[in-house]
Structure formats: C-alpha cells, structure tokens
C-alpha cells in the first residue's frame, strides 16, 4: 500500500525527536543503575535520595492497590518529570534530565490525588554548572590579573620618580612622593608576599629586620627622609629598591592566581590593616599610615570586584554585606582626607582609631567567608 511509506516517515520523525533527546547513559544514584521507587497506598520508598546532575532514571513499582503517579519536582513544585497511570502491579520507568544541582522532591500520588507522598531528593554536581562556574572563576582571575598589571606598571613608574628624588638628594620632593608610591605596593601586597624574600627587602620595618639582615627598602628610606637625614648609602638603597621592585613586577607577570588566592588575598589585606596599620607601626617615621590603610582596602575591594559574579551567584547575601562594610570603611577614611592627602596618623584620637578598628573587624568577618564560597 502506498500509505506504508507515510507511516514509516512518521515513525522515523518521532524516533528522530526521541533520539535528539538523547541516547543517554543512565546515571542514577550512587549505586548506579536506576533508582528504585516502591510505591504503596501509603508509602513511597525511594532507594536513593541523591543523584548526580544529568540523566536520572527512576524505576517505579506500584505495590499498592491504587493507580499511582510518580513526580520529580524542582523547587516551587515545577515538574521536572512525571509518570502517570502506574496501575497496581506495574513497573514504570521515568527518565528525567536534571541539568542543575539543587533541592528536588520526589512524590508518589496513590489514587492520583492530592500533593502526594513527598520526599526530599538532592542533586549534586552538574557538568553544565561546573563548566559555567569554572568559566566565571577564570573570568575573575583574569580580571584581577589585569588589575595587578595596572598597579605594577604604576608602581614601577612612581618608584622610579621617588628613587630619582632620593638620589638627587631632593628630600622634600622625595617625602611628598613617598606615600603615593607606596599606595601601588600596598594594593598588591598579597601578590608581593608570594615571592619569599622580596617583600621583606622592599617593605620590612626596622623592628622586623632580623639581626644580620640589612635594613633596606621603603622604610629604610622613610627613616632617612624623616628622621636621620639621607645617609651615604641612601642612593645605593634606592637603587636596590628599584631593582627589587622591577624583579617583583617581572615575577608577578608569570603568577597564576586561583580564585581562592584572590579571596585569601582580599582577607590578607584586611588582616594587614587590622594588625599593622591600626597600630600605627607601619609608618613609624612618616605617619602616613592612613594612605597605606586606604591602599590595602582598595586592593581588597579590587579582588572582591573580580570575584563579584561568582559570589553574586552563590551567596548574594554575602555580597550585600561586603558592599555595606566596604562602604563603611571607605566612609571613615574619607573623613580623614584633606584634599588628596590623608591626615597624619598621629593626628587621630583614640576614639577615631577605635572606630576604624571596629569597622575593619566587621569587614574582615564577611571577607573571611569568601574563600569558602568560591571554592565550593
């Protein structure tokens, strides 16, 4: 008959649709194979309550006396899949595509009425989501790397000018450049700390210099400029500072940071503020601590900004808290600014310092949670 081809074409078409939906491997619960569901008139026993994202297969056996239905619901009772008409004594199979990890619910509906006998069902992992998350994380580290590149370029330029001023024995010029040069260093301190002895050579304070070590770097020049006057070896120290900074910048270009590094760095900068800047011991001679303080906060903010899309997706509430606390600290700092210079740290009252300390603490607390959120 001429109609046979028509029928066959129809079969082919539907088969094609079915095939498009996939020739998928059954992945089921931890045990592998379909998840067995035993439905009765008053019970709904699901053999596994977790599955990996992807194709989940349920094998439902109706042991009851009533016709039943089986559903897999997403949050808000969105139907992911259902099998109706499971007559008593029948086994029916439900194959559901669950692309996203999350909380789901299984339900048997004996007599096909009501909301059914519910059970929680967790879906974990998810290849789709994972690669998407990885893309977001990669985006974050890329964004932060760009920030580092920006800051290091400026650091080299400014350090050069500062060093030139020192070597030209131009004390006033050097003093005015000192704090602004350090800003670029303080912003990327977590990166600098990755390179063992470079950080101490550039940024060690006199009190921290171990015996037998030479006191070099920014703070040595700070002491010369503000307290002891320029020494015979000040030029040499300045040259060494320049060399060290260049080395640091070169090395930072090859640095592969992970999202967790960013989160830890953001937290590290705040700890730096809490333990050193608040005490006023960083800039013992020049008292430009507030400038460093601001730079640390900026650097921390930049790392969080890079991670923003990731945190937004996984813990929006945390991001709201962070924004609020950053704004709080920035607001306090802004009050201590006069034009483009900060007040000297010695000009702050004990009250104001306390206020800073508590603002920094309340920012440190949410910051310490970021690493966990991005490493999920």
């Amino acid at each position: 008959m001429s109609r046979i081809p028509l029928v066959l074409a129809g079969v082919g078409l539907l088969a094609a649709v079915a095939a498009c939906d996939g020739q998928k491997q059954d992945t089921a619960g931890a045990a592998g194979g379909p998840i067995a569901v035993e439905a009765a008139d008053d019970a709904c026993k699901v053999s596994a309550t977790t599955a990996n994202a992807g194709t989940v297969t349920f094998e439902i056996a109706n042991k009851g006396t009533k016709v039943t239905e089986f559903y897999l619901y997403a949050e808000g009772d969105r139907i992911m899949g259902e099998v109706e008409n499971i007559a008593p004594g029948l086994n029916r199979r439900l194959i559901v595509e669950v692309p996203e990890a999350g909380k789901y619910q299984t339900a048997c509906k004996p007599g096909m009425v009501g909301t059914g006998i519910r059970g929680d069902f967790a879906v974990t992992g998810g290849a789709q989501r994972q690669s998407d998350a990885n893309a977001k994380l990669a985006e974050a580290t890329k964004g932060y790397a760009a920030y580092i590149a920006n800051q290091t370029t400026a650091l080299v330029e400014q350090t050069q000018k500062f060093v030139d001023a020192v070597k030209a024995r131009n004390v006033d010029d050097a003093k005015s450049r000192y704090a602004n040069t350090r800003v670029y260093y303080e912003r990327i301190e977590p990166v600098a700390e990755k390179f063992g002895d470079l950080d101490p050579q550039i940024d060690a304070r006199e009190a921290d210099v171990e015996s037998g070590q030479r006191f070099t770097g920014f703070h040595r020049l700070e002491k010369d400029l503000w307290v002891s006057g320029l020494q015979s070896d000040s030029g040499q120290i300045a040259d060494k500072l320049m060399t060290d900074v260049r080395t640091l910048v070169e090395k930072s270009k090859t640095l592969q940071l992970s999202a967790v590094d960013l989160a830890n760095g953001a937290k590290g900068l705040l700890d730096e503020v809490a333990t050193r800047k608040i005490t006023g011991e960083e800039e013992t001679f020049s008292h430009t601590d507030l400038s460093d303080f601001q730079a640390n906060v900026d650097g921390s903010k930049a790392a969080i900004a890079a991670l923003r899309p990731v945190v937004q997706e996984r813990d929006p509430a945390l991001l709201t808290t962070l924004d609020k606390e950053f704004a709080n600290v920035d607001g306090l700092l802004a009050k201590q600014r006069q034009g483009d210079v900060f007040k000297l740290y010695t000009a702050l009252s004990q009250e104001q310092i306390k206020e800073f300390a508590s603002a920094v603490d309340s920012l440190g607390e949410p910051l310490s949670k970021v690493a966990e959120v991005v490493s999920k």
């Binding site: 539907l14 088969a15 079915a18 998928k24 016709v67 008409n85 007559a87 004594g89 009425v113």
Partner: protein, 280 residues
C-alpha cells in the same frame, strides 16, 4: 489490579473511539462511504506510530524529555481541537446540503475531505497514543515477569471502549439525520472543549504556560478520576479532577463560542449560496 488497569485502558481508548465512531457514522449516514477508506489508514497509521515509538522508548536508550513529551501531547491536542472544530462545522454544512436533497452535489466542504478525515482519525488516536503505547509496553513487560493481570485489564479496557463506541455508532445511525447531527455535534463540541483544556494543561505541566497550581476547582474527592464515572467523564470529556483556571476558562470560552455557532438556525443562507430548509 485488573479493574484499575481496565479503567486506564477504557479511559485512554474512549475519546479516540468516540470521535472515530461519530466520524464513521456521519460518513455512512450521508452516503459518503467512499471517504471511509481514509479512516482506517488514519487510525492504522496512528496505532503503528504509537506502538513503534513506544517500542523505541521502551526498549532502547532513546528517550523523550518530559518537556518534549508534554509539548507533543499538548500541541497535538490543540491541533486535534482545530480539526474537530472543522469537522463539527463540516458536518453541519454537509448535513444541510443533504437535507436540501443536494446529495449528488459535492459540497466544497467535503473536498477538504480525504486528507482531513485521514488526519482527524490519526490525531484522535495518536494524541493519547504515545502514553498509551508506553503504558501498554510496561504491562507487557510486567506480564513477562509473571503478572499478566495489568495487561489483560488494559486490553479489556480498550475493548470496552471500542464496544461502547460501536454501540454509540449503532444507536446514532438509527436517529434521523437532523437529530443525529445535532446530538453528535453537541457531543463533539464538549469533547473538543475537553481536549483543548487537556492540551493546555499539558503545556502548563511542561511549564510552557504558567498557572499550573492556580486551580479553578479540585473535585478529587467528589468525582475522583479513578472512579468508573470519573473515568467515563475523563475518557469522553477530558474531565480532570484538578482543573486549572486556564483550563476552565478555555473550556468555557470554547463552548460559549462554538456551541451557539453550531446551533444557530440554518434558515439564513450561510456562506454557501445554496439555500436550504432543514427537515427540523
């Protein structure tokens, strides 16, 4: 066990059997037996297709996602409604030409004929065919595991549906034409309204349309779908115990528009210039 499977078979089979029997009765009564040869291929194709796809889904790893299944069911339902609606008015028009003793004249409405008849029978059966076929296979598989009751019950249910449809056909053929066409037409309007509501509900389940949980009424306790009268209502009119607002609105709107149109007096010359006076 036997009964509940039988009721499922009855429910799944009833609507298709009903539509097909009305179609056949109409063709027979209006001396259009030549169109009958289009009915069986339509039904046959739908059955073969359902059975084949059911087999593919049951015995291979191919699968239809839930959304696709519901979109398919919902989409076919809505196409079926369009066809049944066309059929209702075609019957009306055709019966008028008959009444006007214009039997020899081929009304152009009938020339839509062969393909429409073929497709309508196909849709009537195929709409529920896939779910029914997959259900059928699971009863077969269960039978292989030693419990033949669901299979027997299911087959019995289908047979009852066909028997009922046949009785309806025999009875319907006895009526005089005017009555026959009025009664079956009205019945079909309600069937189509039910199919429309059911199709929309499918689309709601696939989250293609909103409002799945916004219920117009919930008669789960008064007229459960598992009772025999619930099954008949569901089989014939696609009654659902939990009817969503969208479903209810669509049902009411369809009936409110189509029924008056169908029942309006045929005194006035309708689109066709042929003036007719019915025997009514």
């Amino acid at each position: 066990m036997l009964l509940s499977s039988a009721l499922i078979g009855l429910r799944e089979g009833l609507e298709a059997a009903l539509v097909v029997s009305i179609l056949v009765a109409f063709l027979v009564k209006t001396e259009r037996r030549h169109a009958l040869r289009w009915v069986w291929p339509g039904i046959g194709a739908a059955v073969v297709l359902s059975v084949a796809v059911g087999a593919i889904l049951t015995y291979t790893t191919a699968q239809l996602s839930f959304e696709h299944q519901e979109l398919l069911g919902g989409g076919l339902s809505i196409i079926a409604v369009a066809f049944v609606t066309v059929m209702i008015f075609w019957m009306r028009k055709a019966s008028r030409t008959i009444a006007a003793e214009l039997r020899g004249k081929m009304d152009e409405a009938i020339t839509v004929g062969p393909l429409a008849v073929l497709l309508l029978s196909f849709l009537a059966v195929g709409r529920e065919g896939l779910e029914t076929a997959v259900f059928f296979y699971s009863t077969v598989q269960t039978a292989q595991q030693g419990t033949t009751e669901p299979l027997i019950g299911f087959a019995a249910g289908i047979l009852v549906a066909v028997a009922l449809a046949y009785l309806l056909y025999r009875g319907a053929v006895r009526f005089d034409l005017g009555k026959f066409f009025k009664i079956t037409g009205v019945l079909l309007v309600f069937v189509a309204a039910g199919v429309l509501g059911y199709g929309l509900h499918d689309l709601q389940e696939a989250a293609f349309l909103p409002g799945l949980t916004t219920l117009a009424f919930d008669a789960s306790n008064t007229i459960p779908e598992t009772s025999w009268y619930g099954v008949l209502l569901k089989g014939i009119f696609n009654y659902s115990q939990q009817t969503t607002v969208l479903q209810a609105v669509a049902w009411v709107a369809y009936v409110a528009i189509v029924l008056p149109l169908f029942l309006r007096p045929t005194r006035k010359p309708a689109p066709a210039p042929a003036v007719a006076s019915t025997k009514e």
